[in-house]
């Protein structure tokens, strides 16, 4: 379990973190989301004892990182933004060094083999890290965090610079880790958290903007009733007819065209589903519907919306 309460961190007069609090329970994978410079890495660095906060507390399984750093650090595996690799060592030597460093109590050979298998670096174990590709280096960094089987695992942007196939592998790995560990993953890629995390914490300019279950955020998207419809019929007439339907708030013809069918972007009032009535209207007129697909708001939209909303309320308060 990870518990952060009222963290404040200043760099000069800039607030890197301004009263940040959240909790991560055991067995949870939390996505820590924010644009560059939002305070993600700072939070993670404080949580792992690399930096100290100006005020507030960070606890790992109830152990305060400032008061009992050694005990707290024992329970954390951390992959920083830039994997901390000694380039002149082989993967094998490096992982052995990390084992020594963390005073890992497991059977060395077996444990190393397990970790290497999980992140799929068994085939490069005898190679010098300097000669490895970015993707492999990243995975060695992940292996380093997994050594000693720590209860809390913290990854700072684990998929940066890794090719798409490996990205999927890393995401699967994170999801699997979440079964037995407490996992925090920071990223600025929204689909990533959607794919791997059970909960999302969004941070912007040092403040928590949202802290919700992934489904709840996804549900917020569904509230917005937008869909794209493709109707075979005279474009102008169809447009007028749909526009006049009660409950429709916005209709826009799209440049897309398929034979005699035209595409339209429609948006209905909240809590009304216009799709059925649209179907009957078109059927009456003899205009076949060739396609109808709902357009959910992407997480990107939600993200921007949330940040804007916060900024607006803050502005209003300031006034």
């Amino acid at each position: 379990m990870v518990k952060i309460e009222h963290l404040v961190k200043r760099y000069g007069s800039n607030f890197a973190l301004d009263d940040v609090s959240f909790t991560v329970e055991k067995g949870e994978v939390v996505g820590f989301l924010g644009p560059n410079g939002a305070g993600k890495s700072t939070t993670m660095n404080i949580l792992t004892g690399f930096l100290s906060s100006d005020s507030g507390t960070a606890e790992i399984n109830g152990v305060d990182i400032l008061e009992h750093p050694l005990e707290a650090k024992k329970m954390v595996g951390y992959l920083p933004e830039q994997p901390p690799l000694y380039l002149d060592m082989t993967v094998e030597e490096y992982l052995n060094f990390v084992c020594d460093l963390k005073k890992c109590a497991y059977d060395r050979k077996k444990h190393l083999k397990e970790v290497c298998d999980v992140v799929r670096i068994s085939d490069v174990r005898s190679r010098v890290i300097k000669n490895l590709s970015k993707g492999y280096r990243q995975r060695v960094g992940i292996a380093q965090a997994l050594i000693g089987n720590p209860e809390v695992i913290i990854f700072d942007e684990p998929t940066v610079g890794v090719d798409p196939k490996q990205v999927i592998e890393i995401r699967n790995l994170i999801r699997n880790l979440g079964r037995e560990h407490t996992v925090i993953v920071s990223t600025h890629i929204l689909s990533e958290v959607q794919a791997t995390c059970s909960r999302i914490v969004i941070i912007n300019r040092g403040k928590i903007v949202a802290n919700e279950k992934t489904e709840e955020i996804t549900r917020t998207l569904e509230d917005n009733r937008r869909f794209k419809v493709k109707i075979a019929g005279p474009q102008g007439e169809v447009l007028d007819t749909i526009r006049q339907k009660p409950g429709m708030t916005y209709v826009e013809p799209l440049p897309e065209r398929e034979g005699d069918a035209y595409a339209f972007l429609c948006e209905s009032a909240p809590n009304t589903d216009m799709r059925k009535s649209l179907f009957y209207t078109c059927a009456e007129r003899g205009w076949p519907i060739l396609g109808l697909e709902p357009i959910g708001m992407s997480l990107e939209d939600v993200f921007i919306k949330l940040i804007d909303k916060k900024a607006e309320t803050a502005k209003k308060k300031a006034r």
Partner: protein, 234 residues
Amino acid sequence: MQAIYKRELRAYFTTPIGYVTVAIFLAVSGFFFSLTTLQSQTTDVSSYFTYSLFVLVIVAALLTMRLFAEEKKLRTEQLLLTAPISITSMVAAKFFAAETVLLGMLVLSTFNLIPLYLFAAPYTAQIVGNYIALFLVGSAFIAIGVFMSSLTENQLAAAVATIGALLFLLIMGFANQYIDLYVFRYLINWLSVYSRYQNFTYGIFDYNALLYYLSVCFVFLYLTVRVYERRRWA
């Protein structure tokens, strides 16, 4: 702590730096030995040890410049600082790794003395005393180098700063003869590494000097720990 010690020691000899440093020390001290002792046909080793002191300046800079600067540059210090080890043991481990190389180097340099023992009867107690002193001065130098290395992420800057600081400590004693004010003279004499070292070359085992060198070690290692603790708050 053992893990870091082992890694550092290994790193000296997987990169050229360890070999180069040891080679420079052995070559230069060998040169001074033949010049001051063999060439001069004497068993008096005092000038050999005095010159060795200056070689140690370079050695200390070379041995320590990497220790913290490189970790900072490559961001590997994040691994060490988030691992369950204290800053004190991290600093100690790196210090002792450099010390080990220094010790090995000094032991190797005793080869210089073989011809002396073959053809004459040098004063062993004086030589042993000098080696102990040389090791302690080297330790103090290394502690200063460690501190310099913790201040920057540029290895070259660390080395140059170390050489500067150490040379200053060594040569400030020479200024003494031009200073009239007793207080200054006393102060400089007290601080000077060189003037304290002179006693050893005369064959006096000076416990005060030992204490002084050890204190320098502790002070600069403590400062290094402070640098790291302070950085966490910055």
